[in-house]
């Protein structure tokens, strides 16, 4: 997956600082995750931006579906700040994507947990960030998102990772820090709940 750095926003120039030079003299555009991580650790701002663009959709999709659209950008910001501040601790024991997913899930669950302690913030905000049109029935997709938010956070996380993001149970278990069997049973329970909520409209969709 590659990215055109030219997409960078000019307003960021004000925030850019001189960083250590990479061996090639510029931030890598076509590079693997390991090189990108090294460049980010050296504080190369273009590498950081590249890493952000490489993972932003996956992180944003995951976060939005766990915390809901009203708080998603705030949680995505928090997630990426933790990613960049924590890259020094990333030892490469797991794939970078797994580590990033794990941070995103934990930031999301932590946010949901804090929000529960602030009941006045429980209701979803009226304004929602623009969402790409779903490929099928938009009304049903919207109901799916609403139904998702009624699930317990643990069910929500595994369902989003497996059924929406397409992660295997092995990956889900690594990201969530649980056994593969636990991931499977949680997913089954989550699907049952979704089926109960969405009910016959799912069959009508067929």
């Amino acid at each position: 997956m590659s990215l055109r750095i030219s997409e960078a926003h000019s307003s960021l120039k004000a925030l850019a600082i001189v960083g250590p030079k990479s061996r090639s003299g510029t931030a890598p555009i076509e590079t693997d995750d390991a090189e990108l991580v090294e460049a980010c650790r050296r504080g190369e701002s273009k590498a950081m931006e590249l890493l952000y663009h490489r993972y932003k959709r996956r992180v944003f999709g995951l976060v939005t579906r766990i915390v809901g659209p009203s708080d998603s950008e705030e949680v995505v910001q928090e997630t990426f700040v933790r990613i960049f501040r924590g890259l020094a601790k990333f030892r490469g024991d797991s794939q970078l994507s797994t580590w990033i997913y794990r941070l995103a899930v934990n930031c999301s669950l932590s946010h949901v947990s804090k929000r529960k302690r602030r009941p006045e913030c429980e209701e979803l905000s009226e304004h929602e960030p623009a969402e790409a049109p779903p490929s099928r029935d938009p009304a049903l997709s919207k109901r799916l998102q609403e139904a998702l938010l009624t699930l317990p956070a643990g069910y929500r996380a595994v369902l989003v990772l497996h059924d929406i993001e397409g992660q295997s149970h092995e990956q889900c278990a690594k990201i969530l820090g649980c056994r593969i069997g636990t991931s499977k049973s949680q997913l089954h329970k989550a699907r049952m709940r979704m089926r109960e909520i969405l009910g016959s409209s799912l069959r009508a969709e067929e």
Binding site: I17, E49, K56, F60, G61, G154
Partner: protein, 241 residues
Amino acid sequence: MHCKEAQRKSSAYLDGELGDEQSSAVRGHLRQCQTCEHLFEEESAFIELASSLEPLEPTDHVWEQISKRIAEEEIADSDRPSWRRWLTDRRLLLGGFGVAVCATAAVALVVSGDATSSQTLASGTGEDAGSLTASASVDPQTVAQETTQALSDADRNYQETIAELREMLEEDRASWSAEVALAVDAKLAHFRRSATRERFAVGDATLLVASRDPIYATYREEISFLQSALAGELPRVGGMQ
């Protein structure tokens, strides 16, 4: 196969995780049971719908906000005292450092207002404590005040070390699973309760230095736990909650 068993296996069947024979048995049941067939159709439709959702795109200003926050945090790093940056870079040593401070500053403090009430500060901390060796000629009231001060310094030093380690550990929290986070929180809550209970039992006014040893033991145990957690030795947990 009965309905209950078929429904229990629905996700595994639809995800292709069942063996041929079990899959065949499920299909056989669905041919005979319309209720289960409908439930399977609904679950299948849900899976298809979930996988067909388009990727979501954050708005353009998110990266600007992230860059801004990273810049702010780096500025905050530069504003930190150099000793703290030094400690943070050597984060794995900090717990040991805290214990070392406590140990090297430990003094044998003889409180001898009268010959029958001498006590030894076996595990105190703080720079002042070293100067507190008192002789029989010292005014008992002065010694009592200095002892109180030394005990207060020892408590403060332990608590500051613990607070520093806890703060550093918080930075790691996002990389833990929910279960590990719960286990760590439970352990830290246990240390807090123990220290509170022991402080209450001893009372603030006492000059019986040895009676404070359980408190210091709890502090040292917590420092040791925090040090291990920072080194990646987190509590072992079973499965996801």
